[in-house]
Amino acid sequence: MNLRKFTACAMTVAMTASLFAGVSVHAENADPEPFTIGFPWDTANTDPTWISIYNNVKAAVEAAGGELINVVTDNSADGLIDNISELISRDVDGILFMPASDSMLPAVDAMCADAGVYWGTMFRTISDEDIREAMYESEWFAGGCHEDDEVCAANIVKSMADMGVTDLGVINIAKGDTSSDLRDKGAAEGAEEAGVNILNTTYDISVTTDMTKAIESYIAAYPEMNGILVLGTYCEAAIPTIEKALADHDKAGDIKVGRIDFESSLGEYLSEGTFHVSYGGQQQIDPLVSAVILVNRVIGTPIVEEGPANIITPYLELTSAEEAGEFNEYFLGDEAVYTAEEIKDTMIKFYNPDIDAAYMDELISTFSIADVVERHSK
């Protein structure tokens, strides 16, 4: 055998070996490639719900070995567009955000498609049919998680009607927000069905003094009012403020109070009997699962092979002070509602190939306060 033949044989053996080596390297690759997820979120907001949202998204991203990059946002449409542009320039692999409106989404998709970056939404559905159709056709939209705001609002109004409420004063987040509009719509439907009269709606209250003023104005202007429903608000201590205003006018307990989305102070008023009904509890699981959907897409193991994954989180109902206490401890603490380890095992398809849309739906359907307590109580 001359040297040339020997070299050829040696190279063939080496190349074959390296090929197999490559296969074995891939097979032994225990974790996905490192990746980054951009997340515009207002980290200046110290509301525990807002902090827990950040913690839950972080847990989901880190579960798959990713890094979360935050930019501070005001959550307005134009602010978010600037944030997304900034995150794209920072070479992120995916972007998760809470849309300010449907109409901003085509612009987001165009930016992300140009840059080859996946994007996902949390908390908000796409109500506009044309926009939804266009976004669902986009290969860069990973999907998202949202609540059924309309049904939730309709049901809470009906639930209040069952308690004897006939005339309702309503508080909601700013108009134009998809959730706000859907909750308005649902509340109107529920009111019509149950024969409840919606007296007035005040939007976009952000401070306790304005909340007091709104409630006192309702009491003054609508003596017939026997129910107050908070469809949504970014005002901290909303329920304590409402309860205080009602107590000052000797109306606490007489006027039924309901709220969509849980907050930290509900337990106290539930036990006193001055707060009556709250639907919500998705503020932690929704961003977590939204981040999971995006992460799975970014690392190349999408939950749904064709098109975006769309998961609806069912609302929970807070029924007792004890449950409210558990909610504060396990949902609003520093730990996510699923730890990074739990997410890795149960929600990241790279590690668990059984995951698909039906699996996720089933997993979400078992989610409850008791479930989190059981998993995380020491």
Binding site: V71, V72, S76, D82, S103
Partner: protein, 319 residues
């Protein structure tokens, strides 16, 4: 001889001090640039991040350039955010008739609200701070009422969000406003009115018309900002232009522009301040600094810049 040399050295020292103070905002900008460039390991001035800085800079700079005229008059305009929001909303509605109406509607709406501000301030003698605050309340309320949510425009309009178009628009406004401010009678009239409106009137300056024009120009440029905000997000909402008035005010103050108006108001302060704001925002974001710390840093820097650059000697009474 000794006394002469002492006087000379004192004069030299005071000249250097004066020069330093005059250029402090610019030196501050350079310092911020260098610090963040080092802290972000060269990412700040990377090609991609430069576009971020430009996007942060664009809207504020457009408005700040025209705002110089109002500042030169010794006035304030707290309605710029409301004008941006209202003109974006009106432009979004006009797109339902024709997309060709978007730009003219935004410009005309801005101009009309600016004219209202100017008329109230100049001819009805309402203090600009209060008058523009009232106008801001009115148009924020109207924007929310008319929009009843948010209104989108065709995605094709994003074609106007191209950097080339924005740079051209910025250059056009820069050239026009700079020429008007530095080389035309109007800019001098604004400063003269700011220094002393009675003296200006005695010198033949039409004080009312000067005020009216300055506010109208700010309104028009806010319409332009509204247009670019609209085509960037392709949506107008009740939050469009929110707190923009504070961004612009912070930018001109960062640039070292005095509130007293008159001759010390330098045009370059608008550009330097807008750029400094954009660099600061981008640099802190790149470093992963959280929102609370970012706000403290901005507050401290604002006070520090003005403490160092404020000309107390010529200010007379400081309020």
């Amino acid at each position: 001889m000794m006394e002469n040399s002492k006087e000379l050295s004192l004069a030299k020292r005071s000249f250097t001090k004066e020069k330093l103070r005059n250029n402090f905002a610019f030196l501050g900008l350079l310092l911020v640039l260098i610090l963040f460039e080092i802290a972000t390991k060269g990412k700040l001035l990377g090609q991609r991040n430069l576009m971020n800085i430009f996007n942060n800079f664009f809207g504020i700079a457009l408005c700040a350039m025209m705002y110089s005229f109002v500042m030169a008059l010794g006035e304030l305009d707290l309605s710029v955010g409301a004008i941006v929001g209202f003109s974006a909303a009106m432009a979004a509605f006009s797109s339902e008739i024709s997309i060709f109406l978007i730009l003219p509607t935004a410009l005309f709406t801005g101009l009309a609200v600016g004219f209202l501000n100017g008329f109230a301030t100049a001819y009805l003698r309402v203090e600009s701070f209060i008058g523009t605050l009232a106008v801001s309340f009115i148009f924020r309320g109207l924007t929310t009422y008319f929009l009843n949510g948010s209104v989108g425009i065709p995605i094709a309009m994003r074609i106007f969000d191209k950097n080339e178009i924005k740079i051209a628009a910025l250059a056009a406004v820069l050239i026009i406003s700079c020429l008007l401010y530095e080389s035309c009678a109007f800019g001098k009239h604004c400063r003269a009115v700011g220094a002393s409106h009675e003296a200006a009137r005695q010198s033949g300056v039409n004080v009312e018309r000067t005020r009216l024009l300055a506010f109208t120009m700010v309104g028009a440029v806010c319409g332009l900002v509204g247009f670019f905000t609209l085509v960037r997000a392709c949506t107008a909402s009740s939050k469009t232009g929110n707190s923009f008035e504070f961004d612009v005010l912070l930018a001109v103050l960062f640039g070292g522009m005095p509130l007293s108006g008159g001759w010390p108001v330098k045009y370059r302060a608008a550009m330097i301040g807008s750029l400094a704001m954009a660099v600061l925002k981008s640099g802190m974001s790149l470093m992963g600094i959280d929102g609370l710390t970012q706000q403290i840093v901005q507050g401290v820097i604002l006070i520090a810049v003005v403490v160092i650059s404020f000309d107390r000697r010529n200010a007379g009474v400081i309020k």
